[in-house]
Symmetry: none
Subunit: 226 residues, 2 copies
Amino acid sequence: MNGKIFIIEDEPSIIQLVQHNLEKNGFIVSSSVNGNDGLKELKKFQPDLLLLDWMLPDLSGVEICKNIRKDTSYNNLPVIMLTAKGEEEDKIKGLDSGVDDYLTKPFSFNELMARIKAVLRRSNPNTVSDNLKFDDLMLDRIEKRVFRDDQEIKLGPTEFRLLEFFLTNPKRVYSRDQILESVWPNNVNVESRTIDVHIRRLRQSVNLKNKKELIRTVRSSGYSLI
Amino acid sequence: MNGKIFIIEDEPSIIQLVQHNLEKNGFIVSSSVNGNDGLKELKKFQPDLLLLDWMLPDLSGVEICKNIRKDTSYNNLPVIMLTAKGEEEDKIKGLDSGVDDYLTKPFSFNELMARIKAVLRRSNPNTVSDNLKFDDLMLDRIEKRVFRDDQEIKLGPTEFRLLEFFLTNPKRVYSRDQILESVWPNNVNVESRTIDVHIRRLRQSVNLKNKKELIRTVRSSGYSLI
DNA sequence: TTAATTTGTAACAAAATTGTAACATTTGAA
DNA sequence: TTCAAATGTTACAATTTTGTTACAAATTAA
């Protein structure tokens, strides 16, 4: 996933946390610690989404938001408002300030991520959603997470790439050579049997109890999802 | 098989022939008779493959091709170039214009079909199925599965290859020597009688109850599907 | 740095496949 | 009908392939 996100927030700790995590997830991020700077930087940066603190040293989040909506070139910019608990929550909810969503501090990064995705998806459908699905399995390439029926499955890096590879063509049988070529970095030499071990590890993680086997062994040919 | 194919070609007779036959084969087809229209229509139509005439009234095929390769959202579109005989064949071959394959007119529809399949398989393995069918039997080479009337039949590797071999020419009678050559890896020596045993195993798996015999013994000659 | 995780491989276990021999049955020509 | 040749069938040991585990080396995180 790509996308540019701008943050206007005066608490450095929050900026740091959010910015770091968003960048890890493939976003390009920039930020300001007050409203006036923020408005200027914003126009240079041309973000796809704005994270906006409700309370800022100079301007309030609502004022910034109105300002943005006036400018024709930014009046569609999606905005997620960040508020401290008890900070006039109800007002914000009822407010028709053009905010797309809001989030109450303290929040987990996962919550934030979910909101960001939802808002981006609404405003710009084809920049988001990079999920691979098969049966009850879902692999989120952006967040590098895997779920089976909403239950998260933790995978090591190689297992993740392996599953990702299978999911691009589920049901298709891949030989060990094909798997090696596609899943391992070029010019590394690993034994073909190594794949078997990784398949075993992937199976162990992915085959939750009460769930049917997902990986099929095709003797003398390779493996596939099923 | 599904897939969307766009044709840019100024000879109506060719368009008609190709379009009709492709549609009969399950493709969704659209076309233009000149380059400029073609480029516009193309983007709306979002094809999986482009058939492109080398000589067009306005733009040349090469120009169109370059145009396509520039556009990031289409730079992976597979292209098959159609050329009249003698029309600078060599140039085209040597040309690094990003063409995936080319075909010289006049061509048979089967030739075209083969190229299309090959190119699609390369660029997007998923959209092309590669199934062999005979009677109520279906063998899926990609997924390595065999069905008889939707009921899956499990086969060992050799039985699979054996059936695959018969299905490429059903009804034809193959001698044990021919079978050996084609189904067994080169330079292995197995008794001719071994084939009988594998035929027996294949029969056992394939001949579900209430189904007619599929493998015919031709005394002193060999076996065939029937 | 240390600790934790991940990775590749070897070694062994388990399972599936394979080829062949031995015997049974069928076929078709004499 | 008889009988030899061809094919069907079965069982089984050898081989191949895959599953599993353990562990040291390499990588990454803390």
